[in-house]
Symmetry: C2
Subunit: 251 residues, 2 copies
DNA sequence: TTAATTTGTGCGATATATGAACAAATATCA
DNA sequence: TGATATTTGTTCATATATCGCACAAATTAA
């Protein structure tokens, strides 16, 4: 790509939008400038542009994003068949399991939720399509990383901030790579409170009819209800069934 | 705002992102140019910028959005307290009702879903946070429009494409305004298959502790299970309870 | 093959970013 | 409290980047 094929005003504007996610919903020009590292004058122009287009409102002091901004992410969710195809299967899965079911894809070192059927609230954080979690310590992340060639998985781990969320979190790269091999051979991953104390989850890959892993689905349950050791026994048959149904419809 | 405070390169780029939502996930440069009405050279630069930043991938012929694009909409969902606060209440509501519960806000002539607790699939379309429906024929839309001053509600109807989705859809502005008055006085709206045949729903406003309507929540049920006439009897107590709980936590 | 469409690129005209300057607002301290 | 320092929003001139046109190259269709 040539230098002049890059619209830096656009790139700067996108950076400004993302700055809102990191903290609160209200940002002053100076705050946005600090978060993005862009010049105050530049940030101001981006924010005024967002306001002019209705993606943000300005009260003279703070800018706030409006729901119109959801159109941007929704362009992906609506245009990509995967979330739409998976959602009904997920609804059924969650209902049968009596626990939350989710689907995600890998984006760099993180898993991104693309669909979710929620039965009850068990996590402290609110997960919706678009939510992100570190891949290395999430059940769906383990499944997705296990599907990569080992060299790639290793590269992802190398640029991951392997910080322990709980005392259970595995953070040693070699141990994680061994875990990926185990996940690959058994076809599922179980997480025992590595992400959040009190939460267990089990995930399987979603494959298309050519056998390529295109996403992962999981079921999460409170450790108090379902011990990690029981996760596979309780939920693997349901997950396998959903996995099989999806393999037939995904090309 | 001064002319020079508008970054048109940014605005053009956003338009290109939205073009993906309207059709499929793959767009060629020429297609994107047609959809946006922008010059091909401009669209090409925007798309290459998106690709360079990882928001899209380019196979030399077609551009496809990547899940990274979800960061943009998610900046709103994560930064705005409303979805996060409402979600657990919605989960509980859906579980008690045994049917899907959703929350939305008004954006122009449309309602935008900001949270959803899905129990089972009843609609032909897949609703996720960011999904949009015409406000005039959705239960939450009726509630949100009823909360506006009548002149504003009238103005919204004036710029709405009042097309009937089903034979039941009310499309006469005066009839709709009368319906809004009824909704305002009774405090809830019931929709009987105006959006989709076989689907009934009931919505109430979500008010903050100053009595301002900041969102709407609803329960949807298949008409085969719950007749429109029974909706209020069956679900209004649950909705009122959730409404009351939210009023206490929203400032 | 020709014709039609799509894509890539150079260039002049136009729009935008930059950083400094300044005023207004806010915070700090005696 | 009042004086001073700091932060913030805004404007401006100018250097730089982008736009959209026109044309060429490549691809696709007939």
């Amino acid at each position: 790509m040539r230098e002049t094929d890059f619209v830096s005003g656009f790139a700067r504007g996108l950076k400004v939008i993302e700055a809102f996610g990191e903290t609160q919903q209200r940002l002053s020009i100076a705050e946005a400038s600090k978060l993005t590292g862009l010049d105050r004058a530049t940030v101001r122009r981006s924010l005024l542009t967002l306001a002019e287009l209705g993606y943000a409102v300005y009260d003279g002091k703070f800018f706030t994003l409006t729901p119109k901004i959801l159109r941007l992410g929704h362009a992906y969710l609506a245009a990509t068949p995967l979330p739409t195809i998976i959602q009904p299967h997920l609804d059924q899965l969650a209902e049968q399991a009596g626990h939350n079911a989710s689907a995600s894809v890998l984006d760099g070192t993180e898993v991104v939720y693309i669909a979710r059927a929620s039965q009850r609230r068990v996590m402290s954080i609110n997960l919706t399509p678009g939510s992100r979690l570190p891949a290395f310590c999430a059940s769906m992340g383990r499944v997705l990383l296990a599907a990569l060639p080992e060299s790639e998985a290793r590269a992802v781990l190398a640029r991951t901030d392997l910080k322990a969320n709980t005392p259970n979190t595995k953070t040693d790269p070699e141990e994680l790579l061994a875990e990926f091999r185990r996940v690959r051979s058994q076809g599922y991953a179980v997480i025992d409170q590595e992400l959040e104390i009190g939460l267990c989850s089990i995930a399987v890959p979603v494959e298309n009819n050519r056998g390529q892993t295109v996403a992962a689905i999981n079921i999460g349950a409170p450790a108090a209800y379902v011990a990690a050791a029981e996760m596979a026994e309780r939920f693997l048959p349901l997950l396998r069934e959903t996995q099989k149904a999806l393999r037939l419809v995904l090309r």
